[in-house]
Subunit: 407 residues, 2 copies
C-alpha cells in the first residue's frame, strides 16, 4: 500500500515539482521586510557612500607628502582647514597641505590618504606635523566602495535578514519587492480530536498539530490559514481539503494517513481533480506515513496524526517544500557538536530523528536522548534539538560525536 | 578616556546589573505566543493522554495470554469487539479475550498490551490468532505518560517554541502567561545622517542602524520604539535620550560614541539623573567604542555609528542584555564547521568577528573572509555568517577548521 521513498528522493521530488512555484510579488516597507524573499535583484541606484570618506579621526593629506616621515623628522604640512561631519569641504588639498577630518567626514578633493591623529602633532602654529608615512588610500573609504551605482547588492530569491534591511536603507530604498507569502492551509482530521477549549471526555485527545504548525509557519514566514478539525468521513474531509486547495498554495492535512485509518486522507487526496500522488511513505522514523501530492500545481501534504511524527515531517519535508516554492537556496541547518551521553541503538533501515537534551559538563556538551513513545508532544518540549541518524547507521555509541540541530 | 573591558567581563556586568529586570506579565493566545518568554511555570492540569492509548493498529490482549505464542502455535483468543477512534470501549478484556484497537484508540480495561496486526491472524471464526508473545505495556501509551496532572511541563523563563505551543494545546491551555515585551528605544545621532527617503546631498549618509536594529528586535521578540535621527547637539541629544529612557526599558543610541565625536553620547548618558556608567569600550573588533550604563535600573547602550560595528555589538552584547532582562538561559549559538579558505591574520589583542561567505566544495565547506572596511553594510549583506577569533589567537590559517555562526 505504501510506496516508500527515502529522504533524498523526497527532496528531489520536491525540487522537481515545486521549484519555480508561481508566486506574485508585492512591495513592503522595510520595517516588515525581514524574513521575506526578494522577488527581484536589488541594484544600487547610487554610489554608497556618495563621497570619499575618512574611516578615522585624522588629517587628510597627499600621501607623497608624508614619504619618510618619522617621529624625529616629521613632515610639516600647512593646516588649511577642518572638515565638519555631514558637510562638504569648501577647500581642496594641494601639495604641502593637510586638513582635519573626523571619522565619517568627507576627505577633501586632492587628498588621497588620512593620517590618524595619534600620528600627528598639532603645535597650534598653523602647521601639522605628521610622524608616520601614509600610503595612498590609507584610512579612506572611497565613493562607491560599499555599493557602486547599478551593481547588484541583493540577489532575487534571497530571504532578507536584518543586515540586508540595513543595506536597503543605505541605498535609499524605503520599500522592497518581495514574493507574496505562501498561503498554507492547515487541517486536522480525526473523530478522536477535540479543540483546545473543549473538555477531553472519553477517548478524545486535543488537536496539537494545528497549533504547532501555525507557529512554525509564522516563524518560517508563510501565511497559515487554519481550517480547524474535520471529523472523519470521506465526503466531509474531501470537501474541506478541496476548499483548502482552492484557497491556498499548500495544504497540510494531519491524520488519517496511516494504513490503519483506512488511508482516508490518501483516498481523499487521490480523488481530487487533477491530482498526482508524488509519494506515499517516507523511510524516516518517526514520520513514515506521509503523503505528498500535486493538485493543479499546488502542493498537498498528508502528515501523520501523531504530533512528534508530524513535527519532524514539518521540519524535514515541509520546510524544504516551502524553500522550493519561494525559490530560496536550501542552506544547511547549523548545529552544535556534542557527545552522546549513552548508547542509542538504531537499525531500522530508515533515517531516524532522535530528540536530545543538551547538558554542559566541564570541557564538553553531552547529548542525552529524550526517550518516549511516538506521539508524545512533551517529548519535544523537553528536548533542545535532535540528532539525525542516517539510514545505514546501526546506532550511536556513548561518547560518539554527533551534530545536534537545535529546535 | 576609554575604560576597555573584554567580552567575558561585559557579559558578567550584564548579568550582575540586568538579570531579574522587572517585567510585568500578560496573557496571550497560543497563536501569538511563539517566541514569547513564560512568566510562570506551566503545570499540566490533567493527565495527557487521559486514557490508555494504543500506539499501533492491533489487538488489545492480556500479555500473559500470549506467552509462548508463535506462528506454528498461535494463541487463540476470543474476539470480543472493536474499539472505535475517539470512543470509550463499552467492554473490558478478560482472560482469553482480545479486541481490535486502531492507532490512537483507547485500550479496553483489563488489557495490558497491544499486538500489532502484522502478528495476528483473523480467520473470521470469532477468534484472533496471536503469533508472537507480548510483554505488558507493549504498544501502549498509558494515561499521564505525556504529562501527569500537576507536573511541570514548561518552566518559567522559557522562550516558547512551536513544539511548546503544541504541548500547551495538548494540555488545553488556549492562553499562556508571558513576560511583557522589553521596550527598546532606538536613536541615531549625527549631523551627517539623513533619513531613508531623503536625498544624500553633500557629505551626508543614510541612517542604517535604526533599520537593521528594528528588524533584529522584531526577530528577537522585543518591542522596538523608533525615535529617528537626532542631530548633534548636547541638549538636543540629551532631551531625546531622556525621553527614551522614561518610555522604554532599554535604549540604544547609535553614533557619537567615539572619542573623535567628542564623546557626545558618553557625556549625554553620563549626565542623566541616576546614571551609572558600567563600561566604556569593549576589547572587540569591530565595535570597540561601546558604552553601557544603568539609568534608574534601565539599560542604555551607546553603539558605534558604523553599521558593521553596531551590528556585531547588537549580536554579541545587546542580545545577551535582552536574554538577561527576559531571564532566559543563554544558549550557545549553533554553528557550521568549515575550513578557512585562506590565511587571515589577527593579532589585535581584541576578540574579532570576521564575516565569511560559505562555499561548498566536494567533501567540505569553505569559509571565505568577506574583506572590507568597517562601516560597509554591504559586507554583511554579502556574508553568510561570522567566525569569532578569540582575543589571544594570532590568526587563522588556510585549511584550519572554524565554527561559522550563521547570520
Amino acid at each position: 500500500m505504501f510506496n516508500v521513498r527515502d529522504v533524498d528522493e523526497v527532496l528531489e521530488i520536491i525540487d522537481e515539482n515545486f521549484a519555480g512555484f508561481p508566486l506574485g510579488k508585492e512591495k513592503v516597507k522595510l520595517a516588515s521586510a525581514s524574513g521575506r524573499v526578494t522577488a527581484e535583484a536589488v541594484l544600487s541606484r547610487e554610489d554608497v557612500p556618495g563621497f570619499n570618506r575618512s574611516s578615522v579621526d585624522g588629517y587628510a593629506v597627499i600621501a607623497r607628502d608624508t614619504n619618510g616621515a618619522s617621529e624625529s623628522l616629521p613632515a610639516q604640512l600647512e593646516l588649511v582647514g577642518e572638515v565638519k561631519m555631514g558637510e562638504k569641504p569648501e577647500f581642496d588639498i594641494a601639495r604641502g597641505q593637510a586638513a582635519y577630518v573626523p571619522t565619517g567626514g568627507e576627505v577633501p578633493a586632492g587628498a588621497d590618504a588620512v593620517v590618524m591623529i595619534e600620528y600627528a602633532e598639532n603645535l597650534e602654529d598653523g602647521f601639522i606635523y605628521i610622524e608616520k608615512p601614509a600610503a595612498p588610500g590609507n584610512n579612506m573609504v572611497f565613493a562607491g566602495d560599499d555599493a557602486k551605482r547599478g551593481s547588484t547588492v541583493i540577489q532575487a530569491g534571497h530571504r532578507l535578514r536584518p543586515q540586508d534591511i540595513g543595506a536597503l536603507a543605505a541605498m535609499g530604498y524605503p520599500e522592497v519587492a518581495v514574493k507574496r507569502l505562501v498561503k498554507v492551509g492547515i487541517l486536522s482530521t480525526g473523530d478522536e480530536l477535540v479543540g483546545i477549549e473543549e473538555e477531553v471526555a472519553g477517548a478524545k485527545v486535543r488537536d496539537v498539530n494545528s497549533h504547532f504548525l501555525y507557529s512554525e509557519l509564522i516563524r518560517y514566514g508563510a501565511e497559515p490559514v487554519p481550517y480547524g478539525i474535520i471529523k472523519d468521513g470521506y465526503e466531509r474531509v474531501r470537501d474541506a481539503v478541496s476548499k483548502a486547495v482552492e484557497e491556498c498554495d499548500l495544504v497540510l492535512v494531519s491524520g488519517g494517513s496511516s494504513v490503519g485509518q483506512k488511508d482516508e486522507t490518501y483516498r481523499v487526496i487521490h480523488s481530487l481533480e487533477g491530482c498526482e500522488i508524488l509519494l506515499h511513505g517516507i523511510a524516516v522514523k518517526p514520520g513514515k506515513p506521509t503523503i505528498m501530492a500535486k493538485v493543479k500545481g499546488k502542493a498537498v501534504v498528508g502528515l501523520p496524526g501523531h504530533p512528534v511524527s508530524a513535527y519532524f515531517i514539518y521540519r524535514v519535508v515541509v520546510r524544504r517544500l516551502l524553500d522550493a516554492m519561494y525559490g530560496v537556496t536550501q542552506a544547511r541547518e547549523p548545529y552544535l557538536v556534542a557527545e552522546m551521553a549513552c548508547n542509542y541503538p538504531s537499525n531500522e533501515g530508515r533515517e531516524e530523528y532522535l530528540p536530545v537534551k543538551l547538558e554542559t559538563v566541564p570541557g564538553k556538551t553531552l547529548a542525552n536522548p529524550v526517550f518516549g513513545k511516538s506521539g508524545l508532544i512533551t517529548l519535544l518540549a523537553a528536548a533542545d534539538g535532535y540528532v539525525r541518524i542516517g539510514r545505514g547507521v546501526e546506532g550511536l555509541a556513548a561518547g560518539q560525536r554527533v551534530e545536534v540541530i537545535p529546535f
